[in-house]
């Protein structure tokens, strides 16, 4: 039973013979460049019941394939006892009334779990009251099901749509009771994505499909080297292309938005814009970063992890003293490359700026950051900014950044016409905000019992935070050290040291981001020392999980790390995978587990490597993000997370040559295809009875180490540099 606490913010109104319920809260202003916050945030809920019984639920989070429109609508529909077939979802445009609209960090279910159910329950109670009043019966004797209010004693039934207008005139309830899990009808059952009906007909509108009246098209030649500037442009040939209207220089803009210096070719169609762009003759000042390369970064990071780090995070006990005295120190280095998001829909945005009025149609994960950035860059009040959120062809964190949105608006402001800026695949791959590259060095020593006694983990990586603002005060680093400093095993003497790699490469949030490389190092190293201790890697891990061994950052205090949940997923994955059971010759099994974005995941990989070719025979995933709202959607997220993690571990790598990205299209930035993805991925849920959180990210970080550990068991070779596909030679 849950007391309803937000009635002060509830509003209900009759609209067009139906009813609209809103829960409207003062917006929480997102910090520009802030990582998605982990913690409860109050969003707003808008539900409309029409006279024709259709129910429209506004979702203020961005749908990018994670199924948020489906799962959030299910929360309302469950408590409302709505007929799911009559539920539709509308995408909210930017409005401060929605609170935090930013979609990322597996936070949507986390923040909407209470308010959306409460809204559904409040609405249900109003509909029941209205029907009861009409029938002259006690509301307590009424029930609801499938969008009907019923009165069992008299056998009366009335559709929600028929009482909606009357319900709108009634006072809101003071308290509502939320259903216990046992009473769920929609939640906890498989639902297919609510967007699929449009998608399968090609009717779903993505950013790339937007068309507004009078719109022109633009392609932008951006500086090939990060930090480059335009010295001069000869646009004569470009302007001669039929259809090309204008060539406009776009100056670089930092301020956390990070628009590259570029030259835009504006035309009456995309094709003319691209032709014109090819004919531009731009003389570039390559800028201060043109000497940087993957090799220069590697040289720096290798040296950095060989010495004490510039920052120390979460030091406990005396790791240095113990390591100095240890008779044997186990020491390994792990390397990961920059990664691109490579969303299937390249970046794009349509913008229309008239005077101080700004309107954009953007496939953005963060319309609120977008609106703030637009107001700042176009020097207008945020009240004049409208951001329409389109469907997006994948996000994975890339669409958090407002660069592509602001760039289009700046261009529209300059040309005084609506314009769609289209990024080619080459633009998208060479001007991403990349998952940082990293080098990790872990040194560990064991006690007489074979258990780890000291653990010193040194990281060098370009920081995401530093890319967007000044370097924070000493002792900082929780973001970059996610997955490293919060290593969950019982090791009393431990530290995580960090040294910043200066780099001109833009960095950003990738699916589970820092944890993806930190956990690769930790879960590989723990496997190595388990072996050195002569212990089974699963039993070894299990025996080292008992309590919280690190200081939790302030924002996860509400949902503290729970060692029992980590143990739970580890035990489930091992049991389901038949850990310890004999494998066919040449096969190897590897395990890993971890905690990311409040979710727990453990994975077991079974592989073989024959004639240099890796085969993944089976993957077992156990995950605990609390109660599962839509098992179908959750399974898709976990499987997708595993495959994206495998793609990164096996194939993906962005390299830098002369301050620029080398890879240009999918021929050189190769990703896992359907024939390479594992044939068998088994997903098991461990549903701890707690506040539910997201499934989008937690399955990604354990992948690389789990795979590498399996490859070791199959071949005797440890993989410590990713991607492993490039190691074949």
């Amino acid at each position: 039973m849950t007391a309803f606490t937000r009635r002060d913010f509830l509003k209900v109104a009759a609209v067009g013979g139906g009813l609209v319920l809103t829960i409207s809260l003062p917006g929480c202003k997102p910090k520009a460049g802030s990582a998605p916050a982990a913690g409860p945030i109050d969003p707003s809920v808008f539900v409309r019941i029409n006279p024709d019984n259709s129910i429209v639920i506004t979702v203020a989070k961005s749908e990018m394939g994670q199924g948020v429109r489906t799962s959030l609508a299910m929360l309302v529909a469950e408590e409302l006892d709505a007929d799911w077939n009559q539920v539709r979802v509308e995408q909210a445009s930017f409005d401060p009334k929605y609170g935090e609209m930013g979609t990322g960090g597996s936070s949507s279910v986390l923040s909407n779990w209470k308010p959306m159910r409460e809204a559904g329950a409040a609405l249900r109670s109003l509909l029941v009251a209205a029907a009861a009043k009409e029938w002259g019966v006690d509301p307590k004797d009424c029930q609801t099901e499938n969008s009907f209010v019923t009165h069992a004693v008299s056998g009366r039934r009335i559709h929600f749509g028929a009482v909606a207008e009357k319900a709108a005139a009634l006072p809101l309830p003071k308290t509502v009771v939320l259903k216990p899990k046992a009473d769920w009808k929609l939640l906890g059952k498989d639902r297919v994505s609510i967007i699929s009906a449009d998608v399968i007909h090609g009717k779903a509108v993505y950013g790339l499909d937007v068309k507004v009246p009078g719109m022109l098209y633009a392609a932008i030649e951006r500086t090939p080297t990060f930090g480059g500037r335009v010295k001069s442009v000869d646009s004569a040939k470009a302007l001669a292309v039929p259809g090309v209207k204008q060539v406009v220089e776009i100056p670089a803009l930092a301020d956390g938005i990070n628009i590259h210096a570029g030259v835009a070719v504006v035309a009456t169609n995309t094709w003319a814009a691209l032709q014109g762009r090819r004919l531009l003759v731009v003389d570039w000042d390559q800028g201060p970063r043109a000497a940087e390369s993957t090799e220069s970064y590697q040289e720096f990071m290798t040296a950095a992890v060989a010495r004490t780090g510039d920052e120390t995070v979460n030091k406990q006990g005396d790791p240095d003293g113990i390591l100095a005295k240890a008779t044997q120190v186990f020491s390994q280095t792990f390397e990961t490359p920059f990664l691109s998001h490579a969303t299937m829909e390249p970046m794009n945005c349509t913008a229309s700026v008239t005077g101080d009025q700004v309107e954009v149609w953007s496939p953005t994960q963060f319309p609120d950051w977008g609106a703030q950035a637009l107001a700042a860059a176009l020097k207008t009040d945020i009240k004049n900014v409208r951001v329409h959120v389109t469907l997006m062809g994948g996000g994975f964190g890339r669409r958090i950044n407002p660069d592509f949105t602001v760039e289009a608006a700046l261009l529209s402001q300059r040309i005084k016409q609506p314009v769609k800026v289209v990024w080619t695949r080459e633009d998208d791959l060479t001007h991403d905000f990349y998952r940082p590259c990293s080098t990790h060095r872990i040194e560990a020593s064991l006690g007489a019992d074979g258990l780890p006694e000291a653990w010193r983990h040194r990281i060098s990586t370009p920081s995401i935070d530093v890319f967007y603002g000044p370097k924070p005060a000493p002792g900082w680093g929780p973001n970059e050290s996610d997955g490293s400093a919060n290593m969950s095993y019982r090791i009393p003497n431990r530290s995580c040291e960090y040294t910043l790699l200066e780099s001109g490469v833009p960095r950003g949030w990738w699916r589970a981001v820092s944890t993806t490389h930190g956990m690769f190092a930790v879960e590989s190293m723990i496997d190595e020392i388990a072996e050195a201790a002569g212990k089974d890697p699963y039993e070894y891990r299990l025996g080292l999980i008992d309590k919280v061994w690190w200081q939790q950052p302030a924002d996860s205090k509400t949902f503290p790390f729970n060692p029992e949940r980590l143990k739970g997923v580890l035990q489930t994955a091992a049991a389901k995978a038949g850990w310890g059971r004999q494998l066919p010759p040449g096969h190897g099994r590897g395990i890993s587990c971890g905690f990311d974005h409040l979710g727990y995941a453990a994975e077991v990989f079974e592989v073989s490597v024959i004639a240099g070719r890796l085969r993944i025979h089976r993957v077992v995933v156990a995950a605990d993000s609390g109660p599962v709202l839509n098992p179908n959607g959750a399974r898709s997220q976990l499987e997708g997370g595993v495959i994206q993690g495998l793609s990164a571990a096996i194939k993906e790598r962005i390299t830098i040559t002369g301050g620029a990205v080398t890879q240009r299209n999918f021929d050189t930035y190769s990703m896992l295809r359907i024939n390479e993805a594992p044939a068998v991925i088994e997903v098991y849920f461990v549903e701890t009875d707690t506040h539910p959180t997201g499934f989008g990210e937690p399955a990604v970080p354990p992948v690389a180490a789990g795979l590498a550990n399996a490859i070791y068991r199959a071949t005797g070779t440890r993989v410590r540099t990713l991607p492993l596909g490039l190691r074949m030679a």
Binding site: E63, M64, G65, Q66, G67, D190, V192, S193, I195, S196, D198, V199, I200, H201, G202, K203, A204, V205, Y206, L208, D209, K211, P242, N269, T270, W271, Q275, A342, T343, M344, E345, P346, L391, M392, G393, G394, G395, F396, T424, R425, N632, G633, S636, E639, G640, V642, I643, Q644, S647, N665, F666, D667, M671, L672, R673, I674, N675, E676, A677, A679
Partner: protein, 153 residues
């Protein structure tokens, strides 16, 4: 130049520059935006359509070369009265999509896969569909959907 092409059963007369790709003609001139552009280099499969019944990557076809031919896009797959093609139905039933951007191309390739008789085993489905990237990696569900649609036939 003028191109006469049948798109989704409708005779269309297009006046276009010879350099226009079929993808651009479909999306920009005919406003059939269901066919997606993911790479424009024939690498990702998002623009897969049927050209005279065979799978083709619209980004690598000059619109001029479709004169007198028949193109089927995702918008033209459903039958009379909006009856779903078995592959469309299977993609819904198996939730074989996440963001949905690559889905039209996946569905068109899947239709061709079944037509070509290559959907009888999981291995042949995987091989046939290897030209269609899905970054969300709905691959397990896509395989299941195609197998189910093939069974239904």
């Amino acid at each position: 130049m003028v191109v006469r092409v049948t798109v989704n059963g409708r005779a269309e007369v297009l006046d276009l520059d010879a350099r226009t790709t079929l993808l651009a003609a479909l999306r920009d001139q005919l406003r059939l935006t269901g066919t997606k552009e993911g790479c424009d280099r024939g690498e990702c499969g998002a623009c897969t359509v049927l050209l005279d019944g065979r799978p083709a990557l619209a980004c690598l076809v000059l619109a001029a070369a479709t004169d007198g031919r028949a193109v089927t896009t995702i918008e033209g797959l459903a039958g009379a009265g909006g009856a779903l093609h078995p592959v469309q139905q299977a993609f819904v039933d198996h939730d074989a999509l996440q963001c949905g951007f690559c889905t039209p191309g996946q569905i068109m390739s899947a239709v061709a896969c079944i037509e070509a008789g290559k959907a009888s085993t999981d291995a042949s489905i995987r091989e046939w569909m290897s030209g269609n990237l899905c970054r969300c990696a709905a691959y397990p569900q896509i395989r299941a959907a195609i197998a189910a649609a093939a069974d239904r036939r």
